[in-house]
């Protein structure tokens, strides 16, 4: 191993270690999953493993609904396989997996970018991808985070396919798997691949024969989404109808999250944009164009494309940030090359360039951490409540059903293994939340109301005065048997 390889290896492992830390950062002092989606996905994964099938009663609605053809089932299978293969408690994997996935994103970004001279830089800035409670991100154990791995994965396969047929089926099955894991990301990855392929086919000077795999890939990409249609046609048609016909479900607009990445990274991305345009070539345009289109789309879609829930489109910020990470990495690498070329004539020229770059990197990281520290993350449950849920899971029968605040209900099933009467995410579920809250405020006097809903556990912030209930822990009531 020569000195250059040693230095690169040191930097690569340091970046991967940084990725682990960045994924951990929002939960440095909190042991449980943060976002409601994390709890939901853990719950569905557990339910699939318990029932052994992809159609299962929803544990978050008292088992009254059947969940089937869920669009993120591929993710549940992946997470469930990890749970089974390790035999570890899900709480351990809930902390470990986001770190491993962000580490993978960084490593794959390095593997793709190194052939173009910006591998380490791309990997470094890939760790900057922000996480918020609105559009999620790599710090959360959610399908869209896993989907981000597919960007560099497919780009690596795409480059190999320039001279080889073999990556073609791998790209197609990767997209199929992604459509079954997170459809929105599959559309975004497909979009990026299509742009790359169009530029390659149109501008590359490779012989026509060599372009046949890429042309075939371009034609097959749209069909990779058919698998989810074939798997659960009724569900797909229903969702398409909902998206087209449903009222726009607005959420409060979110500020552009890019400043959280730090202005140094943004400046490097702008520099990278400039170099991509200046240097030209199909590879540079293929990286530039989808990034710009996605950036404009996530910023301006509300004015021109008001269909369905905003939350679908807000995920686009994650894809933009990853692509910008590549471009910022490219910008930094170009500055490095230009600096070395210009200063090499002086005795300490090269060293000065590397020191300057190191300072840029360090300040970029400080800025990023500053942006990260400003972010608010909520906690679904505190430690005491989690212990309550665990205790109920241990002491009461598995077929118990609990009624509690619907926004907290997501944590109940993963923690206890028991069903919850209803769980909702804000702002949906306001009606259910008011209904349950009103019932608790009145003291839960109506035993029939409780029994009709098959509930036998009530988790209430208000004292309950129903003689058919036993308060077995602070705020935790169980319905006496036979009542």
């Amino acid at each position: 191993m020569n000195r250059t390889s040693l230095i690169k290896a040191i930097l690569l492992f340091a970046i991967i270690g940084l990725a682990f830390f960045m994924a951990l950062y929002p939960r440095l002092d909190y042991p449980y999953p943060l976002h409601v989606d994390e709890w939901m996905h853990l719950g569905y994964t557990t339910q699939i493993l318990d029932t052994g099938h992809l159609n299962f009663p929803s544990p978050f609605h008292g088992g009254q609904w059947e969940v089937g053809g869920h669009p993120e089932t591929g993710y549940y299978i992946w997470l469930g396989t990890s749970l089974l293969a390790t035999g570890s408690p899900w709480l351990v994997l809930a902390r470990l997996m986001p770190a491993l996935v962000l580490g993978l994103i960084a490593f794959l970004s390095y593997a793709w970018g190194r052939k173009r001279g910006f591998g380490l830089e791309a990997a470094f800035f890939a760790t900057f991808i922000h996480t918020t409670i609105r559009f999620l991100g790599p710090a959360f154990l959610v399908p869209v985070t896993l989907g981000l791995v597919f960007f560099p994965l497919c780009l690596i396969l795409l480059e190999k396919m320039e001279k080889d047929w073999r990556p073609l089926p791998l790209i197609v099955i990767s997209l199929i798997a992604l459509f079954l894991t997170h459809g929105t990301t599959a559309v975004a990855v497909g979009f990026v691949l299509v742009i790359f392929l169009i530029f390659y086919l149109a501008l590359s000077r490779s012989p026509v024969q060599q372009k046949l795999p890429s042309l075939t890939c371009l034609l097959l990409i749209p069909f990779s989404g058919l698998v989810i249609f074939l798997w659960n046609r009724a569900f797909v048609m229903r969702e398409i109808q909902n998206i087209i016909n449903a009222e726009h479900i607005p959420l409060p607009p979110i500020p552009i999250p890019l400043p959280q990445l730090g202005y140094i990274m943004i400046a490097l991305a702008v520099i990278g944009f400039g170099f991509l345009i200046a240097r030209g070539g199909w590879r540079n345009y293929a990286l530039l164009v989808p990034t710009v289109i996605l950036l404009f789309f996530v910023q301006f879609y509300r004015q021109y494309f008001n269909v369905g829930p905003d939350i679908l489109y807000e995920r686009g910020w994650l894809y933009v940030m990853l692509l910008m990470a590549f471009i910022a990495g490219y910008g930094l690498s170009r500055l490095r090359q230009l600096g070395l070329a210009f200063f090499q004539r002086w005795r300490w020229g090269a060293l000065s360039v590397y020191v300057a770059l190191a300072l840029v990197v360090v300040f970029a990281l400080f800025q990023r951490m500053g942006g990260y520290a400003e972010e608010d993350y909520y906690q679904i449950v505190d430690v005491a409540a989690y212990h309550d849920f665990e205790w109920l899971g241990e002491e009461l029968p598995q077929d118990s059903i609990a009624m509690l605040n619907p926004y907290v209900g997501w944590a109940y099933f993963p923690a206890s293994g028991q069903y919850v009467y209803t769980a909702q995410a804000f702002p949906w579920g306001v009606k259910e939340s008011r209904e349950i809250s009103g019932f608790f405020m009145a003291g839960a006097p109506d035993t029939e109301h409780i029994r009709e809903r098959n509930v036998n556990i009530l988790y209430s912030p208000y004292p309950l005065k129903n003689p058919d209930l036993v308060e077995v822990r602070d705020g935790v009531y169980i319905l006496r048997e036979g009542r």
């Binding site: 994965l153 990767s174 036993v470 308060e471 602070d474």
Partner: protein, 275 residues
């Protein structure tokens, strides 16, 4: 050799997951099984030649394609009679890994030796140490430190943080120690029993005592209970109602230290028949 190592490591995962699930070894090998091995053998089967892919891209595709293979395998299992369970998932992935490894081995055998991808890892530390200058040796030491640091960070990530939230669990079970058969209908003077439990998460040694009241009358209790941090206490506790009446509330009040206000209160309602 690499294929053999991957196949054997994957074989070991099955008994580990079944019998020692959750152990550190099971965690590490299980993650390799789920996140690396399927992709590695698939890449080896599709790209058997040394010059097909460099080692970095091979590793990258190994991780990435494992994430592709695992969900598809699970989808396939859903439509079989075995469904998605511990054994079906582990054995199906193991079968995939072994078959892909066999295909890779076969395809490599058909190539001239110099064209085959056969990774060899030779740790020639002494040779490196002796053959390089101080700076290179320092870099090697730094590399080892950084690798240990990255692994250490992963271990730090996996461990739950120290909880600073201080609280006490106070709970009530029935007389048999289950959440059932709580006292319901009693006769005047009849002794009723419940099981009370305390778990101290106050992060300090704490004294507790329990009072059992019906109305304003004390009908039972437990004197000072001293618990160390994370210590648990559970005991059957009896009380005797002093007056007849329907829907009388029995309160179980936990006090911490010398405080006069209850720290936690539990309760149930009983009907007390006259003698």
């Amino acid at each position: 050799m690499d294929l053999l190592v991957v196949a054997v490591a994957s074989l070991v995962v099955v008994p580990l997951a079944v019998f020692w699930g959750g152990s550190p070894v099971s965690l590490v090998l299980g993650l390799i099984f789920a996140l690396f091995s399927p992709g590695y053998t698939l890449v080896a089967a599709v790209f058997p030649k040394r010059h097909d892919l460099d080692i970095i891209r091979r590793l990258a595709l190994s991780f990435g394609l494992s994430i592709v293979v695992v969900p598809l395998a699970g989808f396939f299992l859903n439509y079989t009679r075995w469904g998605i369970g511990l054994y079906s998932v582990l054995f199906s992935l193991l079968a995939f890994i072994i078959v892909a490894a066999a295909v890779a081995w076969y395809r490599r055998r058909r190539l001239p030796p110099e064209e085959r991808f056969e990774p060899r890892f030779r740790l020639r530390l002494c040779q490196f140490w002796g053959g390089h200058n101080l700076l290179d040796r320092a870099l090697l030491v730094l590399l080892v430190v950084v690798i240990i640091g990255a692994v250490g960070m992963l271990v730090y990530v996996a461990r739950p943080p120290v909880i600073e939230e201080a609280f006490t669990e106070f709970y009530m079970l029935g007389p048999e120690g289950r959440a059932a058969n709580y006292p319901d209908v009693l006769s005047l003077g009849e002794e009723a029993t419940v099981t009370l439990g305390i778990v101290n998460h106050e992060q300090a040694v704490t004294d507790y005592h329990i009072r059992i009241l019906m109305g304003e009358e004390e009908v039972g209790g437990v004197a000072t209970i001293t618990l160390a941090g994370e210590e648990e206490w559970e005991q059957k506790v009896s009380f005797t109602p002093l007056g007849a009446g329907e829907e009388q509330k029995v309160e179980f009040r936990l006090y911490k230290g010398n405080e006069n206000t209850p720290y936690h209160t539990l309760g149930l309602w009983v009907d007390v028949a006259g003698s």
